[in-house]
């Protein structure tokens, strides 16, 4: 509720000095200098954040590129390239006032024209998610060099959350305007406005970023250099952290089984923070169209059959939360009254008996993202088999997984999605029937059709009154809870491991993907 409360008035929000925030998290003053060694996995396909949106790219390039805003761990917007901003009372006009004297890494000045180019031209063409958000935008204008105005077609409350660096990175107009964005040679040497500049990339080995000496925030960044080490093997990454070669293990760098041990090392700290913006949420796609999973009773049986606490405790080291329903508890729109399906195999068996499940085998598609997910699918298979569901695992790689989901060729499939800060950004896409289309593993893959849910989601997105909106979202959660279009597993806790003498590593809700601007090493 906090975020919405803050946004409700549509008041002009003045910037806070980010220096105040960071000072609070350490007793001593930041010490400048030093090199930080960080794991990166998998090796990013490229570092041009406007073109490539996957996690490793964002993690590295989040230090090179910037957007207009950042978000704290409560998802409150903070100034970045925009010093301040206002939202009109009708919720349709967003005006941003840009920071003065910002320069691209090549020395060219950063202006409002760059913002218009980035949002209106570049990202509309290259970034499907931004493209979807920009559907709400009628026009983007730059009245002067320091001001940008976004005018929306209708109110869209979550719009203020769109100015995260991965969603809306600012790209240099003077380099990209009029070129083929994807083949522009600058993609191999990315130019941004961020606190670190790209220096070198030895493929398969290391990416080096060095301090931007002309950074517009005085004194920052503190670090001289970031080295991103490409180590393809999780156990090797763990060993490297253990022997001191690495100082930071970003989320997903090591297998979950290794985390308790690594966090128990001397001078080793762990934090779950930094996931708030993305809000990763694990679930099982259930194919609602055909097979046993087309029967809601079967789907409920799946929910009852699963021992999700076991998964959380054994596979996720107790981090994260068992999902109670379709909405993550991190979301303001989450309905606290929903209790969630308990682990109740008997009830599952009863439901199966009631629907007359005939032992037709169901195919289970694990997520090919490492060992935890493999183990998890083994656990789920075992849970399902113990209530009498016959399961065949179809193991495949990333391409196969995408292909099968995009072609709806599955019965039950693991996935996890970012729910972001608002249901309209991250949740509705999974359930609205207009989003049923082959070809993407991220839309309404399960094939759920409910006109009422469609209507509620559409109205809630543009409803400017938080109370009315919440009522609609409560209704949606109740319907989905009963229908079980997909099986909700967990709100994932992705921990970052780091040496305790590294301070202010994670200061925003975007975590490491938002850069090392404030980080410093105590010596």
């Amino acid at each position: 509720m906090r975020t919405t409360t803050f946004l409700r008035g549509g008041l002009a929000v003045l910037c806070l000095s980010s220096g105040l925030m960071t000072a609070a998290s350490a007793d001593t003053a930041p010490q400048p200098g030093g090199t930080i060694d960080v794991a990166i996995q998998p090796e990013p396909p490229g570092l041009m954040l406007g073109l490539i949106q996957n996690a490793p790219t964002q993690r590295v390039a989040g230090n090179i590129y910037e957007s207009l805003l950042r978000y704290d761990t409560d998802l409150e917007p903070m100034p970045q390239l925009a010093e301040s901003w206002e939202i009109s009372d009708d919720g349709r006009v967003y005006t941003f006032h840009l920071h003065h004297g910002v320069k691209w890494h090549d020395g060219e000045p950063f202006t409002a024209a760059d913002v218009v180019f980035s949002a209106d031209v570049f990202l509309r063409e290259t970034n499907p998610r931004t493209r979807a958000i920009l559907e709400h935008v009628a026009s983007i204008e730059a009245p002067d060099d320091d001001t940008v105005v976004f005018t929306l077609e209708q109110p869209f409350a979550p719009f203020i959350q769109a100015f995260e660096v991965g969603t809306m990175p600012m790209v240099p107009k003077h380099i990209y305007a009029g070129t083929d964005f994807r083949t522009n040679p600058a993609n191999n040497h990315p130019i941004g406005t961020g606190p670190f500049e790209f220096t070198r990339w030895d493929r398969g080995s290391v990416i080096e970023l060095d301090k931007n000496p002309d950074y517009y925030e005085p004194g920052k960044p503190y670090l001289d250099r970031i080295l991103w080490h490409v180590i393809p093997d999780a156990a090797s990454r763990a060993a490297a952290y253990e022997n001191g070669t690495l100082e930071v293990l970003p989320p997903g760098s090591v297998e979950n089984f290794d985390i308790p041990r690594l966090s128990g090392l001397d001078n080793s700290c762990i934090t779950e923070k930094g996931n708030e913006y993305f809000n990763p949420f694990a679930m099982l796609w259930l194919n609602d169209r055909e097979g046993p999973t087309a029967d809601p009773r079967f789907r409920q049986a799946v929910m009852y059959a699963m021992d999700r606490d076991f998964a959380k405790d054994v596979l996720w080291n107790g981090l994260g939360k068992v999902a109670s329903g379709p909405f993550s508890t991190n979301l303001a729109a989450h309905d606290e009254s929903i209790e969630g399906y308990p682990h109740d195999p008997d009830k599952a068996r009863a439901l199966l008996a009631e629907m007359g499940y005939d032992g037709t085998p169901v195919r289970l598609l694990p997520l090919p993202y490492g060992e935890t997910w493999t183990r998890w699918s083994e656990a789920v298979r075992q849970n399902l088999e113990s209530v009498g569901i016959k399961v065949e695992t179809e193991s495949t790689d990333v391409a196969g997984w995408n292909q099968k989901l995009a072609q709806w060729d599955y019965d039950i499939a693991f996935t996890y999605l970012f729910q972001y800060g608002d249901p309209a950004l991250g949740i509705s896409r999974t359930y609205i029937s207009s989003n049923i289309a082959k070809g993407s593993p991220w839309n309404n893959v399960e094939g759920y059709r409910n006109p009422e849910v469609d209507k509620l989601f559409a109205e809630a997105a543009v409803e400017n009154d938080p109370a009315k909106r919440q009522a609609m979202y409560d209704r949606i959660q109740a319907i989905l809870y009963a229908d079980v279009p997909v099986a909700w597993l967990m709100e994932l806790g992705f921990p970052t491991l780091y040496r305790c003498n590294v301070h202010d590593l994670i200061t925003t809700g975007i975590g490491l993907s938002d850069g090392f601007k404030n980080a410093w090493i105590e010596r």
């Binding site: 156990a235 763990a238 041990r261 054994v314 090919p368 493999t374 083994e378 088999e385 695992t393 193991s395």
Partner: protein, 277 residues
């Protein structure tokens, strides 16, 4: 001296045979000893061997009984090892036989194909094949067979090349036996002993290959195998070293046993060579 007497005189071969027999026994008894699925999570994870009665080898990361996994894994390892070897023989023996027997253009074509398969790095090809067909027992067996038949073809071809000019083959030709009889009755039986020796070593290699594929995550997700166990235990090597050591030793012993048996067979089937050792 009979074949059997020569074989059992070789102490290594006997030891190998005993180990192999134990592994086979374990594989056969697995469904009786551990009738439940080896995937069942039965206790808390990371029990050390002997920590709790009833779990002589402890439990793994998910609280599954390692002893049950090992027993069921034996079955898969042996199955993959033997079946893929049989498939490889089924490809390699006829190809080698035809190439060696007919020679000339047939030989040229068949050997080009063989060379071709030997030019692609084996393990890489196996990975590609499994990835394409998606991991399952069938695809793994096929992939291993596809990469391991060329040596069989070469061996059989070599034997055929040397045997087809043997006087007894020529004699059989003279009395009017056709190609089929010459190949099947005259030559093939005499190539069997080196093929059997090679096959026993191939089973060992196939088991290693399967475990390597499983280790890379390209194993059949529904079957418990030793390679899978090592791969799964890899990340917890330091908390629970026994989880990777136990299946590793199992593979080691089985492969070792197969090699010893293979050497024993070699010695027993080729008595002249045996005397050298």
């Amino acid at each position: 001296m009979s074949f059997f007497r020569r074989f059992v005189q070789n102490r290594g071969a006997l030891v190998g045979l005993v180990i192999l027999a134990l592994v086979v026994l374990l594989a056969l008894l697995a469904p009786l000893l551990y009738p439940e699925s080896p995937w069942r999570m039965v206790q808390r994870p990371f029990l050390a061997p002997g920590e709790l009665p009833g779990f002589p080898l402890g439990t793994d990361t998910m609280g599954r009984d390692v002893a049950a996994e090992l027993a069921h894994g034996a079955w898969v390892s042996l199955l993959v090892g033997f079946v893929s070897t049989l498939v490889a023989l089924a490809i390699g023996v006829p190809l080698g036989a035809l190439a060696g027997y007919f020679g000339g253009r047939t030989d040229d074509v068949l050997m080009r194909i063989t060379e071709f398969f030997q030019t692609i790095p084996n393990f890489a090809l196996a990975i590609v094949l499994v990835a394409i067909m998606e991991p399952s027992i069938g695809s793994i067996v096929l992939a291993i067979a596809v990469v391991s038949w060329p040596p069989v073809a070469r061996l059989v071809r070599g034997e055929f090349l040397s045997l087809k000019h043997r006087e007894y083959v020529e004699a059989a030709r003279l009395v009017g036996q056709g190609h089929r009889d010459l190949i099947l009755k005259q030559i093939l039986p005499n190539t069997l002993s080196p093929v059997i020796v090679l096959a026993s070593l191939m089973v060992a290699t196939a088991i290693l290959l399967e475990s390597s594929l499983s280790f890379l995550g390209l194993g059949d997700p529904d079957t418990m195998s030793w390679g899978y166990m090592i791969g799964a235990a890899r990340t917890v090597m330091r908390q629970a070293w026994w989880l990777s050591v136990i299946p590793g030793v199992a593979i080691l012993l089985t492969v070792l046993a197969l090699n010893l048996v293979g050497e024993g067979l070699d010695d027993a089937l080729n008595p002249q060579l045996a005397r050298q050792r």
